[in-house]
């Protein structure tokens, strides 16, 4: 019983009262595996500067692994480096590199499984297959890490931060690049993705599936092969994100597929091939966003309904809205369209004639993509003007009845 008291104390005040186990070439403990084995709950393993070749250290007790002057943990291109489970593990200040690759398993630099209340913070991960792979875990934070993958093909690279079956996660202020997907969410609920930068990934900056009741905000998704995909999810709030330079035959600022009751607001879409692509999307509110210099500000497929675009700025986009159907079940109002040529006699700031954001030419391109090469030619200008005068191809009811005369301050 005499022993029990400090143990309880330790459990209660873990960080403050654990002992510190230094690891390093000049220390008593040379290997991280040894230190983990030796450590008790609440201990801090202080990894000194140096290069450590690590073969999958399994951490399943509440310890803190803290790097001093950023030690390098090297996986010899064969092994996973850390596998974490249980509760209360913290990993901080370490550089993970050269973790193994497997075509059968999702090898990651840090694998976390069946864990909770852990923190992965301020680490650098380079030359990894998967960066941080989390499965079946809850209430955790992944924060301030920098992840750089081995940019290879889609098949041979893994995801930066990969979450599967998790809840109550906070993914914050990470920088992920060179992976297949920068951040990957599947079956993740009640989580927050905040202030991350995900760029130059082969496929998606953020790949988001079957995940309800999540929020992502103030992230930047830039130059990813296919932008951001949000699919098969409900009640997702997306605000104040920046989507830019996502170019390619199937690249989107955001791809929305089978998603309902969500919000996209306060975001900036800049120079994407398609800023928002919607398929089977219902009851999405898209407001206070700025769409600038995109190929298409939005492609709304006929399978979408009850979406509401309001108070957005559409500036210098090649096409504002494109659609493949004639049935219009979505609402557009109070947006500023820089292509609007109407007038405002009563000077209330709202144009007196409706704006039709779908041009004849954008309908032509949907039918015949090759005609894109005629963009901005005289004949196309004439066709568009003729269509404006006598609409025949474009859906008459797809219109903004209250187009703003002036750009909205967003």
């Amino acid at each position: 019983m005499k022993l029990m008291a400090p143990v309880i104390c330790l459990l209660l005040f873990t960080p403050a009262f654990g002992k510190i186990i230094p690891v390093g070439a000049n220390e008593a403990v040379k290997k991280i595996g040894q230190a983990v084995q030796a450590a008790a709950s609440g201990d801090t393993i202080l990894i000194k500067k140096g290069v450590y070749y690590v073969e999958n250290v399994i951490i399943s007790k509440p310890v803190t692994l803290l790097g001093e002057n950023r030690p390098v943990l090297h996986g010899s291109d064969k092994y996973e480096i850390f596998t974490i489970s249980g509760t209360g593990v913290t990993v901080k200040g370490i550089h993970f590199t050269n973790s193994g690759y497997s075509s059968a398993n999702d090898y990651a630099a840090i694998t976390i499984i069946d864990a909770s209340n852990f923190v992965i913070e301020d680490n650098i991960l380079t030359q990894t297959f998967f960066g941080i792979h989390v499965a079946n875990s809850h209430h955790f934070t992944i924060k301030g890490n920098r992840l750089v993958g081995k940019t290879k093909s889609e098949q041979t690279s893994g995801n930066g931060i990969h979450l599967w079956k998790c809840s109550n996660a906070v993914i914050e202020n990470n920088n992920s690049s060179g992976h297949r997907d920068g951040i990957y969410f599947e079956f993740v609920t009640n989580s927050l993705i905040k202030e991350n930068v995900s760029h130059n990934n082969i496929r998606y900056g953020l790949h988001f599936m079957f995940s309800n009741d999540d929020v992502y905000s103030k992230n930047t998704f830039e130059a990813n092969g296919a932008g951001v995909a949000v699919m098969f999810s409900k009640r997702v709030t997306m605000n104040e994100n920046i989507f830019e330079n996502n170019w390619g035959p199937s690249a989107y600022g955001i791809l929305l597929k089978e998603i309902t009751d969500s919000k996209i607001n306060g975001s900036k879409f800049y120079r994407n091939t398609v800023a928002i692509y919607m398929e089977g999307a219902n009851r999405i509110e898209i407001s206070n966003n700025t769409f600038r210099e995109n190929g298409w500000a939005s492609k709304v497929q006929a399978s979408c309904s009850d979406n509401n675009f309001h108070h957005n700025n559409f500036l210098s986009n090649t096409f504002d809205i494109a659609t493949n159907g004639s049935l219009v079940l979505n609402k557009f109002s109070d947006n500023y369209w820089d292509k609007y040529e109407g007038y405002d006699i009563n000077r209330d700031g709202i144009g007196d004639v409706p704006y039709h954001p779908v041009s004849m030419y954008s309908m032509l391109i949907e039918q015949n993509p090759n005609s894109l090469l005629l963009l901005r030619s005289f004949i196309i200008t004439l066709l568009d003007k003729a269509e404006k005068a006598i609409p025949s191809l474009t859906p008459e009811t797809l219109r903004d009845d209250k187009p703003r005369m002036r750009q909205l301050a967003i």
């Binding site: 035959p249 199937s250 298409w296 039918q367 993509p369 963009l375 030619s377 750009q407």
Partner: protein
């Protein structure tokens, strides 16, 4: 060898016209990107038209001069080439000042530079075409008629034909054909060259990427300029050849 004074009056008017239009576009439009769209229309429609008509009228107005020169010990090639060089030079100079200066002031970026370059080359190309049309025509009226027809063809009809082809044969893969067809029209070529900067986002979309990959690459740029160069040289060469045999 070129003493031309009347020309400068018309050229100055043209320069002023371009300058005022371009300048006021940038003034009226808060967003320079949107103003560039209108500038693009000037480049693709007005510049070829004016270059064509001006060159034709100028050629026929210089007929006395040409006649005088040819009674002197001067070769025909030299006469026609100097006439051409003078006209092409003044047209492109007018364009550079009229459109180039405001664009540099308001929108000096890749799009701006491509617009300046594209319009300048179009001025020269349509001057070449106009010389060919003029040398082949017997009088001024026919010359201007031919020039207008050519302009109408390149600015409008040609693209209309492409559109018809695209929709008639939409079941076939037409990427390569479209690519080849568009390089057979200098206006299309200039337009694509400018679009590569202006609408790069849209061009990255599906088939657009094929074009972007081609025209945006080093080879594509060389190809574009080579074809444009051909559009300058070939009509001029034909005009020179025809001029050698022309009766004055």
């Amino acid at each position: 060898m070129l003493y031309d004074i009347l020309r400068s009056k018309v050229i100055i008017a043209y320069t002023l016209f371009l300058f005022l239009i371009t300048f006021s576009l940038f003034q009226l439009e808060a967003d320079p990107g949107k103003a560039m769209l209108s500038v693009l229309n000037i480049v693709l429609i007005v510049v070829p038209l004016v270059s064509m008509v001006f060159s034709t009228i100028h050629y026929f107005n210089s007929y006395e001069f040409i006649e005088l020169m040819l009674s002197q010990p001067v070769s025909r090639d030299k006469v026609i080439i100097s006439e051409y060089a003078g006209t092409a030079l003044s047209l492109s100079a007018a364009y550079l000042v009229g459109v180039g200066v405001p664009v540099c002031l308001y929108n000096f970026n890749a799009t701006g530079i491509s617009v300046i370059l594209g319009g300048c080359i179009l001025s020269i190309i349509f001057c070449s075409l106009a010389f060919l049309a003029s040398v082949k025509s017997r009088d001024k009226a026919r010359g201007i008629g031919a020039a207008l027809l050519l302009w109408f063809y390149f600015a409008l009809i040609y693209d209309g034909l492409i559109l018809i082809i695209l929709f008639t044969f939409s079941d076939y893969p037409l990427e390569k054909l479209t690519l080849v067809l568009s390089s057979l029209n200098p206006v299309d070529l200039a337009r694509i060259f400018i679009m590569l900067n202006m609408d790069v986002s849209a061009l990255m979309g599906y088939t657009g990427a094929t074009y972007k990959d081609f025209f945006g690459s080093g080879t594509g740029t060389i190809y574009t300029f080579a074809v444009m160069l051909l559009w300058i040289i070939v009509p001029l060469l034909l005009a020179t050849r025809s001029f050698r045999r022309k009766d004055l």
